[in-house]
Symmetry: C2
Subunit: 164 residues, 2 copies
Amino acid sequence: MLSHMKDYFTPGEIAARFDLTLDTLRYYEKAGLLRRVDRAPSGHRRYRADDVELLHLVRCLRDTDMPISRLREFAELVRDGDHTIPERVEVLQSHQHRLSAHIDQLRERQEAIRHKIDYYLGVLSDRPELTRRPEGSEDTPTPAPAALSDTAALMTDSTVKENA
Amino acid sequence: MLSHMKDYFTPGEIAARFDLTLDTLRYYEKAGLLRRVDRAPSGHRRYRADDVELLHLVRCLRDTDMPISRLREFAELVRDGDHTIPERVEVLQSHQHRLSAHIDQLRERQEAIRHKIDYYLGVLSDRPELTRRPEGSEDTPTPAPAALSDTAALMTDSTVKENA
DNA sequence: ATGGGACCTGGAGCGCACTCCAGGTCAAGC
DNA sequence: GCTTGACCTGGAGTGCGCTCCAGGTCCCAT
C-alpha cells in the first residue's frame, strides 16, 4: 500500500511545478545546480523528492538574484555532505543580508518614485488643462505658458546650484 | 552676484554623483534616456540641472529594474512637453505596482530562506558534532550516521508523494 | 505500421546592459 | 613646447542566463 505510489517526477511535471522550461532545467543540471539526475531506461530524467526540494531552494535563491555561480557552489556543499552545513548557513545568511539591503534600497527608490508621481499630480491639479480628456476636443488651444522645468522635484541633495 | 556660479556639471562630476561610468552616461544618452546633452566649445559635455534631475529619476527607475526601452519611452514623453504628464503618471504608477509586487515576492522568498537557515540551525543543535570548530581536531572520526536527506524543509505545498 | 508526444543530445544563438578600446582633441600647468 | 588628464568618437566585445534548434529515441494508442 505504500510501495506503488509514484516516487519520481517527470521533467514536464517539474517544469510545470516550478514554472521553468525543460531547457532551463537541463541548463541548471549542466551548470551543476542539481546533481546528475536519475534516468529511466529510456534516458528520460526522473526527478526524486530530493531534487524537488533542492530545486525549491534554487528557485528561491535565483528569484532573489543569487548568481548561478554561487548557486553552484552551494549545490556542491549540499553534495559534499552534512559536514558542510555550517558553511551552507553562512552562505544563506550572507545572501539574506544582501537581500535585506536590496529590499531596503528598492523601498527607498519606490518612495522617490511616489514623490515624483505626487509632484506630477500636483502639477495636474494646478493646471487642469493638462489633464487627459476622454477624446479630442481642446477647450483652449494650449498656449503653453512657459513650459514647466520640473526642477525641484526629487532634488533631495544640496547639489543644485543657482542657474545663471 | 547670482550669475557667476557654476551652472553646469562636467561628465566626471555627474558620473561621481550618480555612481555611473562615463561610458554608461554616454550609453544612456545614445539610448535616448537623456536629451542630446549640451557641449562646451571643446566638445565636452555640460550637464544642466534638468539633466541632473532626469538622471536622478532614471537612476531610481533603473535601480528598480525598469528596462532601458521603457525608460526611453518615458524620456520621450518628458521631451514631448507638459501635455504628456498624465501619461507619465500612468507609466510611473504601473511601474510602482510592479515594484510593489516584486518587493512582496522578494519578502516571501526571504522568509523561505530564513526557514531553511532555521532548519539547518536545528540540525546543528541536534548534531553538535557537525558544528564548525576553530581548526583541525576531530573529536570523532565522523562515522556519518546515515546522511540527512534534508527532506521536509521548505516542502510547503502538497506535492510530495510517499517515497517507495 | 504509423503517428504523435514527451523527451534526449550537443551546440549555436540571443537580448540585455553595459564595458572596453584605439586613436584623437583640447586646456592647463610646468 | 610638452606633458598630463579629462574627455571625445565609433564600434567591437563581454558576461549572464537562458533559449532555440536539428536530428534522434522511445513508447503508447489507433
